[in-house]
């Protein structure tokens, strides 16, 4: 689904983030992870192989609209992460029931 260039872009982001996590505050590591998730979803949306584009776009928008709470509102940021994990699980359930 991802092109080789996209794989290397994500790879560069992930390994650079791994190095930064050694020195940066703990919360920044969580930010890098959701930012990587957003980047991954961005690449998926660019491909023509995604079946439910709307849900994928909504998840990406949710991340991009809230990820910077990390710098301004720690409590709100953690709530956003909780909400995001619930939304991802709902997507997993939706896909699991569709596969039955």
């Amino acid at each position: 689904m991802l092109t080789e260039d996209e794989v290397f872009e994500l790879l560069a982001f992930l390994v650079s983030s791994a190095r930064l996590c050694v020195d940066e505050p703990k919360l920044y590591g969580t930010f890098r992870l959701v930012d990587a998730a957003s980047r991954l979803l961005g690449f998926v949306l660019q491909s023509d192989q995604v079946q439910d584009k709307r849900s994928v776009q909504q998840l990406k928008d949710e991340i991009d609209e809230n990820k910077f709470l990390m710098t301004t509102d720690q409590e709100g940021y953690v709530k956003f992460l909780d909400d995001l994990t619930r939304k991802v699980v709902r997507e997993l359930k939706k896909r699991a029931s569709a596969a039955l």
Binding site: F13, S16, L20, E24, Y28
Partner: protein, 171 residues
């Protein structure tokens, strides 16, 4: 533009248009950086201006703290003196930070947006830009024409951060 006005109006800009920055503007910005004070007038900063699209993309890819490709990066490096002490090296970062502020204020006065980044893989940036071992890429400033107009972030009131004569004594 009045300097106090520039200080208050400047915002960290993370989204840029594709418009290139003329060399004359970059020179004015770098000249402002050159006039920043340094500890003991050491002037150990070095500035790498990155505008080549391929090089810019590589720098962005190893910089998780940079969210879009700007028209230019200014990579502010500290070239350590051969006999640099720990104290000298500590002052380099302060000197680079002061130069970064001059860069950002000059950029704002010239109608450009900027943001200072510290979240990048240093070893990767050294490799991309052929930076020798004794030279440390301390900060990266992104520069470009703004594609966003962010609201001012909250600031603590002076009453909370300023004291008179003694710590915690009301000013």
């Amino acid at each position: 533009m009045d300097v106090l006005e520039a200080i208050k109006q400047r915002r960290s800009i993370r989204q840029f248009t594709e418009q290139a920055i003329k060399r004359e503007l970059l020179e004015q910005i770098l000249d402002a950086a050159r006039w920043a004070p340094t500890a003991g007038n050491q002037q150990r900063w070095r500035f790498i201006v990155v505008t080549d699209p391929t090089v810019k993309e590589m720098v962005r890819k190893v910089s998780p703290g940079i969210f879009a490709t700007p028209a230019a990066f200014i990579v502010i490096c500290a070239e350590a003196a051969p006999d640099a002490s720990d104290w000298d090296e500590w002052t380099y970062l302060a000197d680079c930070a002061v130069a970064a502020q001059n860069i950002m204020l000059a950029a704002h006065a010239l109608g450009l947006g900027s943001c200072v980044a510290i979240s990048y893989a240093r070893a990767a940036v050294q490799e991309i830009l052929d930076i020798p071992d004794q030279v440390n890429p301390e900060l990266i400033v992104t520069l470009g024409y703004p594609a966003e107009d962010p609201a001012p972030p909250p600031r603590l009131p002076l009453s909370q951060i300023v004291f008179a004569d003694r710590y915690r004594k009301e000013w």
